[in-house]
């Protein structure tokens, strides 16, 4: 089934939990210099996940089964200048 992740369409298996997508994104980002530094200093990457416009907190990731058309946004902790 199709969902979007940061506006990009992705194909996933029916029954996929949000926690699986979160895990993939975290894995993909963990070696980026700033994320790596945050993990080393704080133990966390501080990426926030938003599903269909609502923030989802870590304890809820595993309880959410994704549906066709779901829109996931993940937001980096960065702020610039």
């Amino acid at each position: 089934m199709k969902i979007t992740i940061n506006s990009k369409e992705e194909e996933i298996e029916p029954g996929t939990k949000l926690s699986e997508v979160v895990k993939k994104i975290r894995e993909a980002k963990k070696d980026e210099p700033m994320i790596k530094s945050l993990i080393q200093k704080t133990g966390e990457d501080h990426i926030v996940f938003v599903l269909n416009g609502q923030i989802v907190r870590p304890p809820e990731y595993d309880s959410i089964e994704l549906k066709e058309g779901d829109a996931i946004r993940w937001v980096h902790p960065m702020f610039g200048g």
């Binding site: 940061n6 506006s7 210099p33 700033m34 530094s37 938003v50 946004r73 960065m78 702020f79």
Partner: protein, 624 residues
């Protein structure tokens, strides 16, 4: 059309006249407002040969269709003119409330030209306009001038003003408003000074009609809630409203993005320890000082209660920390904050100021200047007291080095010679900001090719593809690998898209910091459509960005740009650092990347817009 008035105020300071001018809808469809409108008036009314301090220079203060929409980020407004540092068109943006209230006077923009015979300030009160005597404010700081104008006119006016540096034509003098927001780069404060215009006061209560007010309300609620909630999820030291952009110093360090010791070094441990988000709250007692409507609240009111750097006022942004701290090796957070606030009062851009002082420190280290030149100051790296004193000397345009440094490091190095141009980190007359080309090569490309305001990290903020993790999926910039930081593949296309994106942002008048907390191009498009009724697609939005960029390019050419200027990058671009995340990285291949950028843009081999491009954009009437 809706969302704008369709009308601007023209102020002739030579003749002391003020008139309204109606603009055709096409001008807004093509250039939106803000920076686009500023470029339009330079195009329309500044012939070739017009220079920054010439009375014919047009200083345009402009809002856009997003100004005042009560959406987070909608306090933005832009100013534009021919810049005294780059000698070409330039624009810069600020927030607070000035732009919102200016729009409420019934005008989309104020266009000032001519030169007054004596210092004046302008008062625009709900459509009524007066030019008033400012002699009692001349010679005062920008903050004193704002206070004085408010006392004279009323506390419910929003005011912008310049300080002594603007009056005395420091080439990087800025314009301030509400003691917290600055039209920072390119010396537009000096343009005001050259016109003997000390300030502008606005008061208004009119709101222009929107195309779909219900949709705007809906968008505002959803967007404001979403962005605030995302920021609130962060730990305190990563929350924008706790530390503002100061958090960036710690986040940029692992990327090799900091400017250290005039861009010579990769690490500055004592600086990183001192100029750190949590220290910002602790040592400077930072409290949120938000712009109107903003839920992210990145501006801070800071206070140092005791000691030589005691002050209460604007907290330093990342760029101020970086350029006046890291770049000069000053690791005293209070001194950096105090020096920045001094610069604000004199009305000087802290980016150029920090770069110029760093250049002077390197010149001192290399014996090009000595204590005889530095007023007895030991202008060594990291000397906080000397850094602060030099801010005063430059702001006051003290005879000798202070005056020379007010010209910028391009002119200063040309005058001093002795090899000092080699360490002047500037292009086209403007100093490079605090985003290191070694951390991502696209920064070098951006600095070389930017047309909105010379080499400018926010006129084209493509460094944020990596540094700030900004994505533009609607325009084809999705996930990007870390290793692509040092690749030229796709750099031309990405650089072009970010130039156009920044032009849309600064012309619709929206704060691009919202993008760090999930604001998208879709949000932007929906809001512009809801305000104006344009009914645009993303392609239309991009095309508008291209038109603004193209108009700016036409202006660059008119005011003297030549292809070779894009290739005169600082010598330091090709000097590597030997440690840290960007060790050994220098942008070899930059020349080829510039040519590729021209090709992607539809410019010819000489960097000029092609006939084909002009036709595609429907800009035949704009080409010189």
């Amino acid at each position: 059309m809706k969302g704008v008035w369709g009308k601007v105020l023209k102020v002739d300071l030579t003749n002391g006249t003020c008139t309204g001018e109606t603009l055709p809808d096409k001008v807004y469809e093509y250039f939106l407002g803000g920076a686009g409108l500023a470029a339009y008036f330079m195009w329309k009314e500044c012939p070739a040969g017009t220079t920054a301090f010439n009375p014919a220079n047009r200083l345009t203060l402009a809002g856009g269709p997003m100004t005042g929409l009560k959406q987070t980020g909608a306090a933005k407004w832009s100013a534009g003119a021919i810049s005294p540092s780059i000698n070409m068109n330039a624009d810069s943006a600020a927030t607070a409330s000035f732009g919102i209230v200016m729009k409420q006077t019934g005008y989309d923009a104020i266009v000032v030209y001519g030169r007054s015979a004596k210092p004046v300030y302008l008062v625009v009160d709900n459509g009524k306009v007066k030019i008033k005597d400012a002699r009692k404010f001349w010679g005062k700081s920008a903050y004193e001038a704002e206070d004085g104008i408010k006392e004279a006119e009323g506390d419910d006016f929003e005011v912008l003003s310049i300080g002594q540096a603007g009056e005395k034509l420091v080439r990087y003098a800025n314009i301030q408003t509400k003691k917290k927001s600055f039209v920072g780069r390119c010396g537009l404060g000096a343009v005001m000074g050259s016109k003997l215009l000390k300030g502008v006061a606005v008061r208004g209560s009119q709101n222009c009609k929107l195309h779909d007010p219900a949709e705007i309300n809906r968008l505002n609620k959803e967007i404001n809630k979403r962005l605030a909630a995302i920021d609130a999820e962060r730990p305190e030291w990563l929350q924008i409203k706790r530390v503002g952009t100061a958090m960036a110093t710690e986040l940029f360090a692992p990327q090799g993005n900091l400017p250290i010791k005039n861009y010579q070094l990769a690490n500055f441990p004592s600086g990183e320890k001192s100029m750190h988000g949590s220290n910002y709250s602790k040592e400077l007692r930072a409290k949120p000082w938000p712009c109107q409507y903003c839920v992210l609240q990145c501006h801070n009111l800071c206070e140092v209660k005791e000691g030589p750097y005691a002050y209460r006022g604007k907290g330093p942004e990342y760029e101020s920390f970086a350029m006046m701290g890291f770049d000069t090796m000053v690791d005293d957070i209070k001194a950096v904050a105090y020096g920045g606030e001094l610069a604000n009062k004199y009305s000087m851009d802290t980016i150029s100021l920090g770069a110029v002082i760093a250049w002077a420190m390197e010149s001192y280290e290399k014996g090009v200047i000595t204590k005889k030149d530095t007023y007895g100051l030991d202008l060594t790296w990291g000397n906080a007291e000397a850094m602060v004193e030099m801010v005063k000397k430059i702001g006051e345009r003290a005879d000798g080095l202070g005056y020379l440094l007010g010209e910028g490091c391009k002119i200063a190095s040309e005058v001093l010679g002795k090899g000092s141009p080699d360490w002047a980190v500037q292009m086209k007359g403007q100093e490079i900001a605090a985003h290191n080309w070694r951390a991502q090569y696209i920064s070098a490309l951006n600095y070389c090719t930017g047309v909105a305001s010379g080499p400018n990290h926010e006129r084209g903020n493509s460094q944020h593809i990596w540094v700030g993790h900004i994505r533009l999926p609607e325009w084809g910039i999705g996930e990007v690998g870390n290793e692509e930081r040092w690749s030229w593949e796709k750099a031309g296309d990405r650089n072009a898209k970010f130039h156009d994106y920044c032009n849309i942002i600064n012309s619709s008048c929206h704060c691009k910091f919202m993008e760090f907390r999930s604001y998208t191009l879709t949000d932007l498009l929906n809001t512009i459509n809801g305000a104006t009724g344009f009914g645009w697609s993303q392609d239309d939005l991009r095309r508008c960005g291209e038109r603004i960029t193209t108009l700016q390019k036409i202006l660059n050419i008119r005011f003297g740009w030549r292809k070779e200027h894009d290739f005169k990058y600082p010598k330091r671009f090709m000097e590597p650092v030997h440690e840290g995340p960007a060790a050994g990285k220098i942008p070899i291949g930059l020349e080829g990347a510039i040519m590729d950028y021209y090709r992607v843009r539809g410019w010819d081999g000489e960097g000029k817009p092609s006939q084909e491009l002009i036709k595609r954009l429907g800009m035949e009437e704009y080409i010189d």
